[in-house]
C-alpha cells in the first residue's frame, strides 16, 4: 500500500480536465474533418473511355433500378437513318420498329424525325431516362459506328455507396471517383470536339466543359 501513489482531489480533477480536453479536441477535429469531407465528397462515375458495355451496370447496382443510364452526345451522333445503336442487325435491314428489331429491351431510345435532305432522312435519338436500365446494348451497337451513346451514373439516383457494387463487378475498372462538383464525364473524343468548339467562342460547349470532369 505504501508503494501506491496517492491521487488527491486536485490531481484527479486536473487529469480529468486533460482527458476531456483531448477528447474535445478529437471530437472537434473529427467534426471539422467530416464537414470538409462532405464539402469535397467524391462520387462514383464511369469513365466512358474504359467502359466495355458488359451489362453489369444493369444487374449489379444495389438499387432496384440501376443508377446507371445511357446518355447521348449529340455532337458525335450522325443522326443516321440506319442507327446501329437503335436497331438489331435484322432491324437494320428491315428498319421495322417492331420490338424484336430494336436493340433496347425497354424501348428507352426515342427516335424522332428531324429533316429530309437530298433524299436522305435524319433522325434524332434521345434516351428516356426513366425507361433506361443501363444495360449498354445500345452503347455496343453505337460503338460500331460513331460511339455517341455511352453510360453515366446519374447522380440524382446514385446513393454513393462506400463500395459501389457495380464498380466491384466492373471488368474493366471503368468506375472512378470524381469530385461532386463535376460528377459527370465526357468521352475523350467528345471532349476534343467540345474544346475545339469552345475555342471558336461556342458558349454552350464551354459551359459543358465547365460542368464535366475534364482530366485526361
Amino acid at each position: 500500500m505504501n508503494g501506491e501513489k496517492q491521487t488527491d482531489r486536485r490531481g484527479f480533477l486536473a487529469d480529468g480536465a486533460r482527458v476531456a480536453g483531448v477528447v474535445s479536441a478529437g471530437v472537434l477535429g473529427g467534426f471539422l474533418a467530416g464537414r470538409r469531407g462532405q464539402a469535397e465528397e467524391n462520387r462514383w462515375q464511369i469513365d466512358p473511355d474504359k467502359c466495355v458495355g458488359c451489362g453489369n451496370c444493369a444487374t449489379h447496382c444495389v438499387l432496384d433500378e440501376s443508377a446507371v443510364k445511357c446518355v447521348q452526345c449529340f455532337d458525335m451522333c450522325g443522326f443516321c437513318n440506319r442507327c446501329t445503336g437503335y436497331y438489331t442487325l435484322d432491324g437494320l435491314d428491315s428498319r421495322d420498329t417492331a420490338a424484336e428489331d430494336l436493340l433496347c429491351p425497354t424501348e428507352a431510345i426515342i427516335r424522332t424525325f428531324v429533316e429530309g435532305k437530298a433524299g436522305q432522312n435524319f433522325y434524332e435519338y434521345t434516351i428516356d431516362t426513366d425507361a433506361c436500365i443501363g444495360c449498354a446494348l445500345c452503347v455496343k451497337g453505337c460503338a460500331l459506328m460513331n460511339g455517341s451513346l455511352y453510360l453515366q451514373v446519374m447522380q440524382d439516383r446514385c446513393v454513393n455507396c462506400n463500395e459501389c457494387a457495380i464498380a466491384v463487378a466492373c471488368p474493366s475498372d471503368a468506375f472512378v471517383n470524381v469530385s461532386s462538383d463535376k460528377p459527370y464525364r465526357l468521352k475523350r473524343v467528345a471532349l476534343g470536339v467540345m474544346r475545339q468548339k469552345a475555342g471558336k467562342a461556342d458558349k454552350a460547349a464551354q459551359k459543358l466543359i465547365d460542368q464535366v470532369q475534364a482530366d485526361e
Binding site: G55, C80, A118, L144
Partner: protein
Amino acid sequence: MRFLNEHRGMLVTAVIAIAVGIASYAVVSSDPLAQRSRGSFTIDYSSVYEVDSDLIQFRQTEEIKVQMDEVRGICVGPADKLYIAGDQAVAVYSQDGVELATIRTDGEPSCVAIGNDQHVSPGRIYVGAGDRIEVFEPDGSRVGTWSVPDDNAILASIAVAANDVFVADAANRVVLRFDLAGKLVSVIGKPDDGGRTFNVPNTYFDIAIGSEGRLHVANPGALRIETYTFDGAMEVRWGEPGAAIDRFFGCCNPSYFAVLPGGEIVTSEKGIPRIKVYSEFGEFRSVVAGPSMLGVAQSELGDPRAVQAEAVFDVATDSRGRILVLDPRRKSVRVFERSIVEKSGIGFQPVNPEMWDRLPACRLAHDRLEAYPTVWDRG
C-alpha cells in the same frame, strides 16, 4: 477408435468447415449474377463476323511495319512507292517495304495523295493537314501550302488527276476542286445547289480518281459510291445498305476505298471491318479480308473503347493489282494479293467480248489483267 472418441468434436468441426468451404467456393466460382448479365445483354455478331471462305479470293503475302506512332492514311505513287501519312510527317517506302524518306509536315496529316505519271509533276505529294493542303515535290521540298475556303474543314481525302486536285471536306460535306496552282475551281455538293449531296455522319469521306476522267466519291451516310464527272455531274451511283457481305454495313460505309488498275473498286468498311472488291459499276466480286483476317476478334465488335474504334483500315492499290491495307492498330501495311488457287462456288462470269466495247473502263481492266495470271483469265 479411441482416437476418434477423443477427438470426435474436433473432427466434426473440421468436416463442417471443409463442407462450408467447398460450398462457398462453388457459389462464388459459379458467379450466377455475372452469368445472368452476360446472357441477358449481349449482341450476337456471328452472322456478320464469319465470311464464307469461298468468297475470299485474296491472301496476305507481306506486312510492312511503319515507324510511326499513329498512322492515318496511305496511297501509292509512281514506281509503286508507298506514302504513309501519320504523326506529323509522310513516310515514303519502296514497294518492298524499304523506308526511303520522311517528309515533315507543318500540321498533322489526315490524308495524302500523289500525282501519277499523267500528272503535270509525277510524284508530287499532296497532304491534307488540319484545314490546309501542303504540297511537296517528290524529293520532299515544299512547293506551297493551299488554304480551303472554310477553316472548320476536316480534310478526309485527296485525289489527284492530271490537271486537277480534289479534296474531300468531311466537316462541310463537299468535294473541292483545285487547279494545279491551288486555286479553287469548283465545289461538288454545295448546299446552295439544291440541298446537300453528301451525307457524312463522321470524319470518313473518301474520294478517288476513276477511269475516263471520272471522280468516285463515297457517300457514306447513303451507303453507296457515286461517280461524278470532274464538273460535278453525277453519272453512276451504287451500293446497297445491309449486313449481308455484298452490301455496306451500318449507318455509314464504305469508310475508305481505292481503285484497282482495271477500274474495280476496293472498299473498306468499319464497324464490321471487311474489305471487298466490286466492279466499277457496283457488282460484288469478292472479299479481300474479313474481320478475323484483319485481326479483329468477334468479342471486339461493339467494344466502346477507343482502341477498337481505331479498327478502320485505309486501302490503296498498286500497279500490280496488290491491295495495301493500312492497319492503324498494328502500325503496318498489310499486302494482299489475289490468290490464284481456283475457288469453287463463286460463279465467275465469262467475259463477254462485247462488254469491253461498251465499257471502256472494263476493256482497260481486261487488257491489264491479261498480264497477270489471275482467276479472270480462266473466264
